[in-house]
Amino acid sequence: MTAEAAIQQQRRGLAVPRFPPGDLAIWIFILAELLVFALFFAAYAFTRMQHIALFDRYQAMLNRDAALINTLALLTASYFVMRGVVAAREGQGRLCARWTWAAVGMGALFLVVKSSEYAHHLHAGINLSTNTFYMFYLSLTFFHFLHVILGMVILVAVALKAGRGGYTPEEHTGVETGASYWHMVDLVWLVLFPLVYVMK
């Protein structure tokens, strides 16, 4: 195939958005990650059924306002990431970089808020062995916390490349790949937040 024909084909490919967006490998990774979280959530739910009083009591001690702020932070980040993808599709690399950096900023806000919560627990002498609820709460949220960090690292890589003009309307798989992973991080929190902080 000549280079000309290849470009033609890619243009035609553009008319119909690819499914799934981004690299297929990231989707395999996302599915595997979701499986880990699903197992954790299921374990939480089954254990909670056996200790409802304990779970309710300690759940009430969590800072729900902080969690709400964090939910909004992640949702906003997802919105920014989406705007970044749109910008990349339109060939506006700089704009894509700016939206992606904004998403990284929201991720950082999440980390700050969550860290202040952890500091509060640490100060109160709470750890993994305090009780079953805290074991789950700390494990689940911290595992997710690490995913936010990984998501941010990926977004920073995307933002840097976008800023250098590394993406084109024809080839911006990297932006979609990063965005897909970030949405997974967000999605997991959207389950985690009601499950751990709110559910009665």
Partner: protein, 467 residues
Amino acid sequence: MQYKSQAVAKPYFIAAIGLFVGQILFGLIIGMQYVVGDFLFPEIPFNVARMVHTNLLIVWLLFGFMGAAYYLVPEESERELVSPGLAILMFWVFLIAGALTVLGYLLVPYSGLAEMTGNSVLPTMGREFLEQPTITKAGIVVVALAFLYNVGLTILKGRKTVVSLVLLIGLAGLAVLFLFSFYNPDNLAKDKFYWWWVVHLWVEGVWELILGSILAFVLIKTTGVDREVIEKWLYVIIAMTLITGIIGTGHHYYWIGTPDYWQWWGSIFSALEPIPFFMMTVFAFNMVNRRRRNHPNKAAVLWALGTAVMAFLGAGVWGFLHTLAPVNYYTHGSQITAAHGHMAFYGAYVMIVLTMISYAMPMLRGRSAANSEASQVLEMWSFWLMTVSMVFITLFLTGAGILQTYLQRYSSDPLPFMVVQEKISLFYWMREVAGLMFLIGLVVYVASFFVGSRQPEATAVVEGSAA
């Protein structure tokens, strides 16, 4: 062979196969001692033979990994090894130290060996799999450092590929984690805690990186599939390996005096350890199906596919069988563990080393790509004999383990250990027979190196327009 210095891999591979034979012979001895308690008594006691069986396994796999690295790294880096001489020197150091250690196990009472080798200065002996005298351990560190220097510098000076970097991370991790074998706290819970940092984080962590990179290398070479495709898979596989494997260490922390949360962490994360192995199976078959050419070395491709399948079964499925804390509460340390150990080690690590040997040895012996048809046929026979035997060894041990768990720990009227052992001895006999079949397979394997050496090389079957 593209680079002259790749030739240093050859003695490593030969030593690996030699020690493999020794390992299997001692396996047969202990298998017999399971049912005939005084077999070879008092010359070779069970505990000594078992130590030789497991230590030889580790040592020959290390020989295999090093040989694989010495063959793979120059080709990936597109340059000669930094120091082939150092590689040969370290080969002899490692071989002689290994031989002396095994002789020490066999000829001197263990406590005497500890005294002779000055264990009291820095006591590290007496722990399962880490029985080596402290000076042997120090020797292993020296060999590992020289090896890492040689391989690492070659990679850094040459072309850097995902395959060689993953391999280097795996090998460096192997060396670093081995240092925990020198940490031997008095507190038994702590001792066990860090002991697993060597044992578990080797086989369910960094060794998997070594396995993944060698498999990727052989698949790139034999299928002609684009490097980018294979590297992408490798990334995803090692990411999953590390996510599940590192915290998965917790499945060893259920009953050793660690905090309760390890039962959750260990169960959840290790339950997912089969995923990277499953991905490896899909990966291997996918790449072979998408092959751009038929490689004349059919035996190597068979080993590669076999590794993927058997590693998934042995490490993945048989591991999952008893990894959840509520199940492990009953099965811990039973024959189920032995079943898992056998198939996992064979499927993942024995087979990947044999894959690499199968791929590289023809070139190391002067062929352009593959052995003769006759030699390959014999090698493939040995593949099936050993693999099927291992499946039976595993099934018999699993049967023994299920019965043992039930009779000794689960039934309403539990029986004493020795009474149960007597009742399940039929399984041990059948395991020993399967072990003999394995030995026959191994003999056929060794024979395949001597058969058909003068016959012309096998050629690839041409499919359509592929060449």
